[in-house]
């Protein structure tokens, strides 16, 4: 057996184990953020653990505060009130996705870091919606 092959076999095994671990074992815990439903159901309120919360900014709930902004975040099932300290990101607006980092006290989410999550939809300014089968002119209705 070539000297090099003795190195390749354990390397292959290592890659296989890593991949398997990544794909099957960590599949549930490798989430970048938690949804409002998961935070309400699973998070220990008031233990001060920092976590990321992701959802959509509910329309009509944005209020400026003295040192930041207050708004509600929803995943369609559960809505959580958020108090954010610091300037919001430039794309922050009603209906956009946000991922915020902070703590959950049981009734409010106190965040001090904000990231805006935009989706994979690209729409023209006059509100064209793409539906499969549409033609260019009917898409800008």
């Amino acid at each position: 057996m070539r000297r090099y092959a003795r190195f390749v076999i354990p390397a292959l095994g290592l890659v296989a184990v890593l991949l398997g671990f990544l794909l099957f074992n960590l599949k549930d815990s490798l989430v970048f953020f938690r949804t409002p439903t998961e935070v309400v159901q699973e998070a220990q309120a008031g233990d001060g653990d920092r976590m990321r919360l992701g959802g959509q900014v509910v329309a009509g709930t944005i209020d400026e505060t003295t040192d930041g902004v207050a708004f509600d975040v929803s995943d369609g099932t559960t809505t959580i009130a958020v108090i954010h300290t610091g300037a919001p990101q430039q794309l922050f607006q009603e209906g956009i996705g946000v991922v915020i980092t902070g703590t959950w006290d049981g009734t409010m989410f106190h965040s001090d870091e904000m990231m805006v999550k935009h989706d994979e939809q690209y729409r023209t300014e006059d509100g064209g919606e793409y539906h499969p089968g549409d033609y260019p002119d009917s898409a800008t209705g």
Binding site: F32, M115, E120, G128, P132
Partner: protein, 319 residues
């Protein structure tokens, strides 16, 4: 018009057309002008995928045929792929800072793309570390084949894990959620970058051919000096015969200084613009991303041309 001139002309024309479409269409509803970064970021990521698939094909064909042309093909594509993976990450960072609000975050798509970059950098490092050409070709072919597992991992990371990065635009399960102006700009970008890939590959393969020719000539010269007893170092195991390595001809010091100065200037420019990030307008971000993309591409083209010139000169000196 020669064939290589034809491809270069076509690539430049296609890039110009893609630029005109990408900068000429209207604004996106949510992101405004910032959406325009998509039309350079996604084509760069596409070329990263394409390059590494081509490396896989070249590696497989080399192992089947043992024809070193396929080894050069695979290696050239890997280098171009490393360039475009880096570019996709850099443009992604600019887009991320302007839309998400952060340059980098430990998101599955971002981390796995970085891992892919480092594995293929490892492929290039592996090639440089093996002087025996056949052993180098065989071992790097295996790495070129194994490395491919990362492409589905990177591409489906946004489906398998909950990420900050948005879902795939083109291969979306619910169809492409994109209005027509953005689609035309995206596909124009993909077509133009694919032509750029063809141009870069032709140059990189030419360089690889010259490098192999140089190695052959040096080996032939040593064989003449040493007499018939020594076989060419082309064959595996021949290093036991203790063939002295010829030191590479000294590079022009002025060229090295110039390259370092250009690199320092580019790094400084990127650092200065990045530090002004909060005051950049949306058009400013677009200009930043497009400048980085095309300055990087022109620099790579120039670097390839320089390496070809230097290697050709070395070949002429030896022969």
């Amino acid at each position: 018009m020669t064939r290589s001139r034809f491809f270069e002309f076509a690539a430049v024309a296609a890039v110009a057309a893609a630029l005109a479409v990408a900068l000429g269409i209207g604004e996106e509803r949510t992101m405004g002008n910032l959406a325009r970064v998509l039309f350079v970021h996604v084509p760069s990521a596409w070329l990263a995928y394409l390059s590494f698939v081509v490396t896989l094909v070249g590696s497989g064909l080399y192992l089947r045929t043992k024809d070193l042309r396929w080894d050069r093909f695979a290696a050239s594509s890997a280098e171009v792929g490393v360039f475009f993976t880096t570019l996709a990450i850099a443009l992604g960072m600019i887009w991320g800072r302007s839309t998400w609000g952060v340059w980098w975050t430990w998101d599955a798509r971002l981390v796995l793309t970085a891992v892919m970059l480092f594995v293929y950098l490892g492929y290039l490092a592996l090639r440089r570390s093996i002087p025996d050409r056949l052993a180098r070709a065989r071992r790097s072919a295996w790495l070129g084949i194994l490395g491919i597992v990362q492409i589905p991992l990177v591409h489906f990371s946004v489906v398998w894990w909950r990420t900050l990065h948005q879902q795939a635009t083109i291969f979306n399960t619910e169809g492409m959620q994109m209005d027509w102006p953005f689609r035309s700009a995206l596909f124009a970008g993909l077509a133009a970058y694919t032509l750029v890939y063809v141009v870069l590959m032709r140059r990189r393969i030419e360089l690889a051919r010259l490098e192999d020719r140089f190695e052959d000539l040096v080996a032939a010269e040593e064989r003449e000096v040493a007499g018939e007893a020594v076989t060419a170092p082309r064959y595996e195991g021949s290093t036991e015969l203790e063939i002295e390595e010829t030191p590479p001809p000294a590079r022009s010091r002025r060229a090295v200084v110039l390259a370092l100065a250009i690199a320092a200037f580019l790094v400084a420019a990127v650092a200065v613009v990045s530090s002004q990030a909060t005051s950049l307008s949306r058009w400013g971000w677009v200009a930043y991303a497009y400048t980085v993309a095309y300055v990087a591409m022109l620099t790579y083209v120039a670097w390839l041309a320089w390496r070809i010139t230097v290697t050709r000169r070395r070949v002429e000196e030896v022969s």
